[in-house]
């Protein structure tokens, strides 16, 4: 796969935004047909680097930029496109209402003869691009009816219509299940075999190690190094990305002497989950794992009162409860951190302060009106208690990194004074370094007596952070494990079996 001449070669890339050096003299190269991983925490400069390569930003003086051996002095987005450099951003930027063919061949659609849509050429181009990937999709299916993995394929196929030679994929597996990820990896291999270089930007280290030839690691806008992937381990990559060493150890402990806070008895919802029973004790962390679609989130939403069980009981502090809505659950001290922080968990355009007090307004009232001073106290208390890094509390929460957003989301629920905190995939879109920080908070909360249900589809997260693990599959509890009595590999084997 190595070739004498790199397809893309950058040296001494610097860029500054608002007085902050976003990139401090980074170099980066990609060989033809290579699968390359661009790794680093959020905010380390990965996206900025991609935007420089595609001509969105201009690097500062002194940068060297070669593509296919030719020096490039002023890259522009249209030039990047004509050179065959394509980016598939995480949000895919596809049109849900349009068909597969229209999405893929949409450049043809806007540039037909006389400004009309050349439908036949469009369909042909879409067919050709999909054939190159070795997949077949119904070309006339509206995109929104496809599962997310296939939409991913559509986005890749669209990049290929433009005769791609270098494709960047930003977090392509973030919302895929394991089998979908495997499928995507297969596609990327085909792509690379046909001579297209692929640069993978991903947080999920396992797949990065599986698929890449080489990796470039960035940290705080500086280059850590270019490494061959062979022989690399996950913990080594984490260390390179964060500059820190994370010791992993099982923390599971018995809580049999503690009172049962929540007792779930034969809980069922048709077509979602069936016959779920478990006890949760004070200060205990219960891990819930299983593949996507195992019914984990549905169960969590039922415990949170947003859905009503068809059968079974929820017993809270010895009393059977019937939640009509999540407001009842919140009043009873049940909090639920949504897996979808971007659209459900937080109100992204609104301020950090407003997001933080959103669930606990009743606690900051004074004479029936919201008291600005009480609000300020609550906000500053939780910001400092959870070590959230913010500018001003009035800033929109979307200006924060994933890890800091998640801390605010946790603070929002701690502000109601909960008995039970359900964390649904709390590390999605959170950096490796920041993940450790989130789990540190979770452990501290458990030690203070909070009962926690930790839902994750990444077995290591529950293995290292829970006292007990429930394994869900197809809406049922398949087994309950004690992390002290099994290895992580064993757990992964059972979950992925």
């Amino acid at each position: 796969m190595m070739s004498a001449e790199p397809l893309l070669s950058l040296k001494n890339i610097k860029i500054t935004f608002g007085g902050v050096r976003a990139l401090k003299g980074v170099s980066f190269e990609v060989n033809p047909g290579e699968v390359h991983c661009l790794a680093g925490e959020n905010g380390c400069g990965k996206s900025t680097l991609i935007k420089i390569i595609t001509g969105v930003y201009k690097p500062e003086e002194g940068a060297e930029f070669f593509f296919d051996g030719q020096p490039i002095t002023a890259m522009t987005p249209s030039m990047a496109q004509s050179l065959g450099i394509q980016v598939i951003w995480q949000d895919l930027a596809l049109f849900g209402e349009m068909t597969v063919a229209e999405n893929i061949g949409f450049q043809y659609a806007v540039s037909g003869k006389y400004g009309l849509v050349d439908k036949r050429a469009m369909v042909a181009a879409a067919e050709k691009a999909l054939a190159r990937l070795g997949v077949s999709l119904d070309l006339h299916m509206p995109l929104k009816e496809l599962p997310i993995a296939q939409r991913q394929i559509v986005a890749i196929a669209r990049a290929l219509v433009g005769e791609a030679r270098l494709v960047f994929m930003d977090e392509p597996t973030a919302s895929l299940t394991q089998s979908e990820t495997d499928y995507l990896i297969e596609i990327v291999r085909n792509l690379s075999a046909s001579g297209v270089a692929v640069v993978f930007v991903s947080h999920r280290l396992a797949e990065v190690l599986e698929i890449s030839d080489r990796m470039t690691v960035l940290r705080d806008g500086a280059l850590v190094g270019l490494f061959p992937v062979e022989g690399m381990t996950q913990s080594r990559v984490t260390e390179l990305m964060t500059g820190r060493n994370f010791d992993s150890a099982v923390i599971a402990a018995d809580h049999d002497d503690q009172p049962v806070v929540l007792s779930v008895k034969n809980l069922s919802r048709t077509n979602e989950f069936e016959n779920i029973s478990f006890d949760l004790r004070r200060g205990e962390t219960l891990g819930v794992t299983g593949l996507l679609g195992a019914g984990r989130t549905e169960l969590a939403l039922t415990l949170f009162g947003m859905r009503q069980p068809h059968q079974g009981q929820i017993v809270l502090d010895g009393e059977t409860v019937h939640f009509g809505s999540n407001r009842d659950a919140i009043r009873a001290g049940v909090a639920y951190l949504s897996e979808d922080r971007l659209s459900l968990g937080l109100n992204q355009p609104q301020s950090i302060a407003d997001n933080l007090v959103m669930a606990s307004l009743d606690r900051i009232l004074s004479g029936g009106l919201i008291s600005p001073s009480k609000k300020e106290n609550v906000v500053s208390h939780w910001i400092s208690a959870l070590g959230v890094k913010i500018g001003r509390p009035e800033d929109p929460i979307r200006t924060l990194s994933g890890g800091n957003q998640q801390r605010v989301a946790i603070a929002k629920w701690l502000a109601i004074g909960p008995k039970i905190l359900i964390l649904d995939a709390p590390t999605v879109g959170v950096d490796v370094g920041a993940r450790a920080g989130i789990f540190e908070i979770v452990r501290k909360l458990a030690a203070e007596g909070l009962s926690i249900i930790l839902i994750s589809d990444e077995p290591p997260e529950v293995y290292f952070n829970a006292d007990r693990i429930i394994h869900m599959a197809e809406g049922r509890i398949k087994a309950t494990y004690d992390p002290r009595q099994m290895s992580l590999t064993e757990l992964e084997g059972k979950v992925y079996a």
Binding site: G18, M306, Q348, I370
Partner: protein, 331 residues
């Protein structure tokens, strides 16, 4: 210039910039162009014209902030006026006693509130788009009103009601005072009440609000109910000012209320906006039309210029924010 702007933004909020610039521009242009613009007469006429449009704009404001709209504001106002009128007429019309007036006000507020509640419930429970629901409501109320009045005017009210439309206390017009009290109420509602907090939150993301335990249905129903009540207040003032009720009164105000709200920096997608910039925007619109009036321009031309002003302000906003963005990058 820069520190001055920053200081202004910190004190009054960035959304105040547009209305204040427009205000200064209108004052300067007409102050120079029209002889007697800077006179008590101008401000008197603005002060009497402002409240009707102003109250209807307040009625429009809350739905806009939730990401919705209320297209039935003018007909709700007149139907509420009609409710008041029929109570007064039942008690003797011109000779109706003070108690009947109190009852008439209650009837108007109840009618406005009920119309709003119906709208709000329809939006909250059917999840239909507020444009569709309030458009239906608008057509319904207009038809109902025309049926009840047979398309004509209802008049003949006790003379003690006239001051509500025309009177002054300490030189300040009573309708203006009523309007200012309502502005104050809306200000407190939006900045300090649970309802205000909730309606802004659901304006930018209703699902996130739901997941955080906000009672989104109740919020939407309350928002439209309050919108209807505010319409009723406008309806009572219109009744007193014109000494008559007609279902089509102030029909042309409908879209102007939306315009005034956007001129006042309300986010067209909901979730963000304040009352005070909208208040200044309303004053600017009235000054503009009074100034043109003084210069002898046609009234229809004034309306056309309102549209132009809106486009200019939108463009200015884009240019100013682009300028600041480029400044930030260079620093």
């Amino acid at each position: 210039m820069m520190p001055l702007i920053r200081k202004f933004n910190n004190t009054f909020g960035a959304d105040m910039t547009g209305p204040v610039i427009a205000f200064v521009a209108v004052m300067v242009i007409f102050g120079i162009g029209a002889d007697n613009f800077l006179s008590l007469g101008t401000f008197g006429s603005v002060a009497f014209q402002l409240p009707e449009l102003g109250l209807l704009t307040l009625a429009m404001l809350l739905p806009l902030l939730t990401g919705g709209i209320n297209l039935s504001v003018t007909f709700t106002a007149n139907l509420a006026g009609l409710a008041a009128a029929s109570v007064l007429q039942a008690y003797g019309g011109v000779d109706a006693p003070g108690g009947a007036f109190a009852l008439a006000v209650v009837a108007a507020l109840a009618t406005g509130g009920a119309a709003g509640l119906m709208t709000g419930a329809a939006i909250a429970y059917t999840r239909a788009h507020p444009i569709l629901v309030t458009l239906s409501m608008m057509i319904f109320l207009r038809g109902l009103g025309e049926f009840l009045t047979r398309g004509g005017d209802v008049s003949g009210f006790p003379s003690y009601m006239a001051p509500i439309g025309h009177g002054s206390i300490f030189g300040l017009p009573i309708p203006l005072l009523i309007f200012i009290v309502c502005v104050g109420l809306w200000q407190v509602l939006l900045t300090h009440s649970k309802l205000g907090f909730g309606l802004l939150m659901i304006g930018s993301n209703i699902e996130a609000g739901q997941y955080s335990g906000l009672n989104t249905r109740r919020i939407i129903m309350l928002v439209y109910t309050l919108s209807g009540v505010m319409c009723a207040i406008a309806g009572i003032i219109m009744l007193a000012r014109f000494n008559s009720v007609r279902i089509g009164h102030g029909e042309s105000y409908l879209l102007i209320t939306v315009l005034a709200a956007f001129l006042g920096g309300i986010n067209p997608f909901g979730g963000f906006g304040r009352v005070l910039p909208v208040f200044v925007a309303l004053v600017v619109l009235q000054l503009l039309s009074s100034g043109l009036n003084l210069m002898g321009a046609n009234q229809h031309l004034a309306t056309a210029l309102w549209g132009v002003l809106m486009i200019v302000v939108m463009a200015a906003r884009t240019i100013v924010s682009a300028y600041f963005a480029s400044r930030r990058k260079k620093i």
